[in-house]
Symmetry: C2
């Protein structure tokens, strides 16, 4: 039986398999350090559409089709599609998957959405409700900047603490059985609000949520950072990553050796002018699907703790001068046996 091992953590009775993973990204992401790892790189980040929002939906639609193909499945095999994004009313998702005739459970976790999709998806499978779940998350730099910060044509200078929203979609097919890396535990985050109000410093807003999640995970599982080959947060960037290392050190955990962040990995700060790094729902989603998933398949990574982080920011809450609450969802993934797609 499934084991609840703490307030926020459950361990699965039978690990849930990540049968396939796919990543489709924009041009700038393709030019970055992880470019060679992504499945598809769009030459035109507008995807031939006349708006950024419609372009984001194209990334979703194409990548969902790709991950199904990689898993050797069709939409008829999938019991639930779980996904979301950070546009108003998750419109990237809605218009990206509306032609997929699969029961839909929309998620909102801002940039933590990929963690939420993998967590809920794994629970639905382990609970006996599905054999296959399709999970994913997307974002688009231009659509996000327009919505949360400044219209791009204004050319507003961005501070060094700012991150750049990743353009793309990452998606996984979770399965009850078969070959592939395995989700063995999930630790679900609480909302943490430390009073940060600066939308140009999301790393600082989200770092306390990542720390809260890490502490809960280690305390409930009895593990330490050294029990993982790698611990990866979603999109804290350089600023948030450093904060996590410092805050965890104060709590007695050494995160200096095997902890990184998808926002740090996805862009080259020196050559790509990306300041604190990458962010957005797609940041953790495409980095996991493109870069980490194959390493879990090959056994190069045996056990990882993946923690997509989300800033529960709204353009309206910013106008009202409200804070930026944050949440983080942790997923433990172990190298599976056999072939991966």
């Amino acid at each position: 039986m499934t084991k609840r091992i703490g307030r926020q953590t459950v361990a699965f009775s039978k690990p849930v398999v990540i049968r396939a993973a796919a990543s489709t990204v924009g041009k700038k992401e393709g030019e970055g350090p992880l470019g060679q790892y992504f499945d598809e790189i769009a030459e035109d980040s507008m995807m031939g559409e006349d708006s950024w929002e419609k372009a984001e939906s194209c990334f979703v639609a194409e990548n969902m089709a790709l991950v199904l193909k990689k898993a050797g499945l069709t939409h008829e095999d999938i019991q639930y599609v779980l996904c979301g994004d950070l546009l108003n009313q998750c419109m990237g998702t809605t218009f990206g998957i509306k032609d997929l005739p699969i029961p839909f459970l929309g998620l909102f976790g801002a940039c933590s959405t990929m963690g939420e999709a993998m967590s809920v998806g794994a629970m639905l499978i382990d609970g006996g409700f599905a054999e296959y779940v399709l999970g994913g998350a997307s974002s688009h730099f231009c659509a996000a900047e327009k919505q949360f910060r400044f219209p791009l044509p204004l050319g507003i200078q961005r501070p060094q603490s700012a991150t750049r929203t990743v353009t793309g979609d990452g998606a996984v097919v979770l399965a009850k059985e078969g070959e592939g890396p395995q989700i063995t535990m999930v630790t679900t985050g609480k909302i943490i609000d430390m009073g940060i109000t600066d939308a140009q410093n999301m790393g600082a807003a989200m770092a306390p949520a990542a720390v809260d999640l890490l502490l809960a995970h280690f305390q409930e599982t009895g593990r330490t950072p050294q029990d993982y080959d790698v611990i990866v947060t979603g999109d804290l960037g350089y600023v948030g990553h450093q904060l996590v290392v410092e805050l965890m050190a104060k709590e007695g955990y050494d995160m200096s050796e095997n902890y990184t962040d998808c926002g740090i990995l996805i862009f080259d700060r020196e050559t790509q002018d990306t300041h604190s790094g990458g962010s957005g729902c797609a940041c953790s989603a495409v980095t996991f699907c493109g870069y980490f998933y194959p390493k879990l398949c090959s056994g190069e990574i045996n056990r990882m703790l993946f923690i997509p982080t989300g800033a529960l920011l709204s353009a309206d809450s910013a106008v009202l001068g409200l804070t930026i609450p944050a949440v983080a969802h942790g997923v433990v993934i172990e190298s599976g046996k056999g072939s991966c797609t």
Copy 2:
């Protein structure tokens, strides 16, 4: 074991109990036909705040506290809080629950959110992941009008097909065992897009999703409308309700006798000038929690099919001339034994 009885429907191995339900509404809702059934009626729909969005969060916070009190539980007893709303980035939810230290899974189903919360919550409990789940949904008339239609001070005339967003929050505590009405099945909806683009006619946009859900439910369970004491959609209003009756008749199902809609019940069209009826995430949530839940407790209703309906509309998608895709989530609830709160 849990039984999947069709593409979209699962039946629970052991029914999930709705341990408590609570509803907190605005002044106009309190003056409507269901006024006497709500737990709390706010005299001031601003809740003493200086913005509608913050007021919505107050409805959430107060009603979540109320439902926990009614269930005789504290936040420490609850494993997951599942909720959402229709503001940009679910900010009504975020700021309403951010001080509740409970693992949070944010949902986006627009006005179908209460159905999604009850569905996912019941699956998490039946799957063995939680003993108690807190689920809810909220909306606020003024915040929704500002976001999706016209600023209220303009005094734009609303067509007869328009619905009025319900102000309030409805919340339930789902439990693994104990007394109270029981969730026995859920049928999860697919996104249905029939090409409607008029945000002043949400009933027409959502009716096809309700019909698709009803057909899936009846076909997969072998039931007919007559197997239910009452079938209730979320917020189709008079326009959408009539469409459902007509479309279902064409499919051979008689929905003329025991089918109603929360949007029809919550306002008096003649005296309250509410046109096609009520809508919004709170419409189905408060009508279920305030009006139907006690009838399930008392046995006045033995078996109901509750179908919150959602228009996956965004102000941005409307500007881009996109359609309004819709989704509906069905929950079968049967009268429980013993006392209810």
